[in-house]
């Protein structure tokens, strides 16, 4: 074989993997840009790279140095926590009812959970804004922190239901039968067998909820009034130039999330390994 043939063979063996790695690089390119521009010593707006004085660490040393940025980050985190907690509890209950029980209207229940996911965010945001402004103001609810929370619980709910449902459906029913054969009553079967088996699905659902809530812009923009979340802060400051502190915080969230995912996977694989 000539070198050319060898090369061609090497490439054709790995062509799928090469494309895959290229696509992954494409996914990371804007993240790299965000990272790089957090070191930019820009004058007016952080769009073009200023070679004078760059790279600089000054934005990393003072991440809250722009008015409102850390407040909006705090709001995003608080909204994310409350919405995740509520959506995970409500959604898990719904998933158990839909998978484990036969009742009238189960089809309608599944439909009610599915349609919000098939509705574009802008329609959800618009409809929530109309009812908040035209109906809920009469009972004293103003647009702000709590309307964001109410809206986020709603759109996270469906994603929790489908995630937990998938986990429940893939459970081996023999495990619960075995518990019953061993004279466990319904309550201890549930808490000692079913629930621990479903828990990874519930944890995934909660993580998914938090990330959906944390990164949501469109619905939040409709229902937030004067309250600002981190994505809204970034979007609003776009017109007068996004401060590099936003890049610092955005990239830090990325690093924290990756670390959490890696730790989660390591713990997960350790738990699995003794049994397999």
């Amino acid at each position: 074989m000539t070198t050319g043939q060898k090369l061609r063979f090497w490439i054709s063996e790995r062509i799928v993997m090469i494309i895959a790695v290229a696509v992954l690089l494409y996914l990371f390119l804007p993240v790299a840009y965000t990272f790089a521009f957090s070191f930019n010593n820009y004058r007016k707006s952080n769009i073009a790279w200023n070679p004078e004085g760059s790279p600089t660490l000054k934005h990393w040393q003072d991440p809250c140095g722009v008015e409102g940025i850390c407040e909006s980050l705090g709001t995003s985190i608080r909204v994310g926590f409350i919405a995740t907690l509520a959506a995970t509890i409500l959604g898990t209950m719904l998933a158990f009812a839909l998978v484990r029980h036969k009742f009238k209207g189960r089809g309608a229940g599944n439909m009610l959970v599915f349609i919000p996911m098939a509705t574009p965010e802008i329609v959800l945001g618009a409809s929530l804004l109309t009812i908040f402004v035209q109906g809920f103001t009469r009972i004293g609810l103003k647009l702000g922190f709590w309307t964001i929370v109410l809206a986020h619980i709603m759109f996270c709910l469906s994603f929790v239901v489908v995630t937990v449902k998938a986990r429940l459906q893939s459970l081996d029913p023999r495990l619960e039968e075995a518990a019953e054969d061993l004279y466990a009553d319904a309550r201890s079967t549930f808490w000692r067998v079913t629930f621990p088996l479903v828990l990874p699905g519930i944890v995934s659902a909660a993580l998914l909820s938090f990330s959906l809530s944390f990164d949501d812009f469109i619905i939040t923009n409709f229902v937030s009034g004067n309250e600002s979340t981190f994505p809204k802060f970034v979007y609003v400051s776009y017109l007068r130039g996004i401060p590099a502190q936003a890049n610092v915080i955005g990239f830090s969230m990325f690093v924290i999330a990756v670390l959490l995912v890696v730790v989660g996977q390591v713990i997960g694989s350790r738990r699995r390994s003794p049994s397999s």
Partner: protein
């Protein structure tokens, strides 16, 4: 599996590997309704009621001579306005979202395939790589694309240097940039469901295709692709629906001539006095079109016999 991977397994209508999910055995009774009550109530108050309110708003009529003041009515005038004045934006939304979905599919399939069959021990790392960019705010990433595709940016520079693009050419503020942004933003939603359904497929079945003297392309078309169809179906929906309603990409990467229906809804709501009814009518039309497309699409491709 991590959080977003579950979108895949769930969107694809995850089932137990051995066959369809077991039917519920427990009878209804009070427990079922108690479990259902809070969640269903929530969806009724914060999804169904707002939609009903939005429908009512879309049918309102204006008090003559008082812009911004409306009374309850059954007037389809706003729908007529929506469909006559904003037809270009509507068509553009469907065209852009459709193109982005197709591009995302072309990019996502090799990646999902490599993760399912070629990655081996790198599978977990690749999964993290697909999900991780999600956590940098998507608005920051979209603005990064604006920088990458800017007139002085590396992409335009390279294309001009290669003389592929005339020296006056640009990418930002064109439909191409908007489609590129949409493709990028929703790509993981395409990768994860396809990966989830390929991962469940038995590689031996694909090998069997080769054993039966099918060439690579035929094996792919007759064996691999049909097996991954639930994932492709879920992925296209998870990409197309948010892309069709998006306005952030068109706002940040496009210009006035690339506005999508989302931009119209947003500006009718926030910037036009008395724009609520038209915005509501546009929202409903968008949702009706999407639901109709989803329905036809699922009916057409949601079956076992695809090819």
């Amino acid at each position: 599996m991590t959080a977003l991977a579950h979108i895949g397994s769930t969107g694809a209508g995850a089932q137990t590997p051995g066959g369809p999910a077991p039917e519920p055995t427990k009878k209804g009774g009070i427990t079922a309704y108690l479990l259902l009550l809070p969640g269903v109530l929530w969806l009724l108050v914060f999804f169904v009621a707002p939609m009903a309110q939005l429908a009512a708003v879309s049918l309102q009529s204006q008090f003559p001579g008082y812009p911004g003041y409306y009374y309850r009515d059954v007037n389809f005038g706003s729908y007529v306005t929506a469909m006559t004045e904003y037809l270009p934006q509507f068509g553009r939304s469907l065209l852009f979202a459709g193109s982005a979905t197709l591009l995302a599919f072309v990019l996502a399939y090799p990646l999902a395939y490599a993760m399912a069959f070629k990655a081996g021990k790198w599978r977990g790392l690749m999964m993290i790589c697909v999900i991780a960019p999600f956590f940098t705010s998507f608005i920051l990433r979209t603005i990064a694309w604006r920088q990458i595709l800017a007139d002085e940016g590396p992409v335009v520079g390279a294309l001009k240097w290669l003389h592929v693009m005339p020296s006056s050419g640009r990418i930002t503020e064109t439909g191409f940039a908007v489609v590129a942004g949409l493709t990028y933003n929703f790509l993981p939603f395409m990768v994860l469901p396809i990966y989830a359904s390929l991962e469940r497929a038995d590689p031996k079945i694909i090998e069997a295709g080769g054993d039966l003297y099918a060439n690579g392309l035929t094996t792919f078309r007759r064996v691999t692709l049909p097996m991954s169809m639930p994932g492709v179906l879920a992925g296209t929906l998870l990409t197309f629906i948010p892309a069709a309603g998006d306005y952030v990409n068109a706002e940040l990467l496009g210009s006035d001539s690339t506005k999508m229906v989302g931009n119209v809804i947003e500006s009718q709501f926030f910037k036009v006095l008395g724009g609520f009814p038209v915005a509501a009518a546009l929202s409903f039309t968008l949702m009706a079109v999407i639901l109709a497309l989803v329905f036809v699409y699922v009916r057409r491709y949601g079956t076992e016999e695809l090819l």
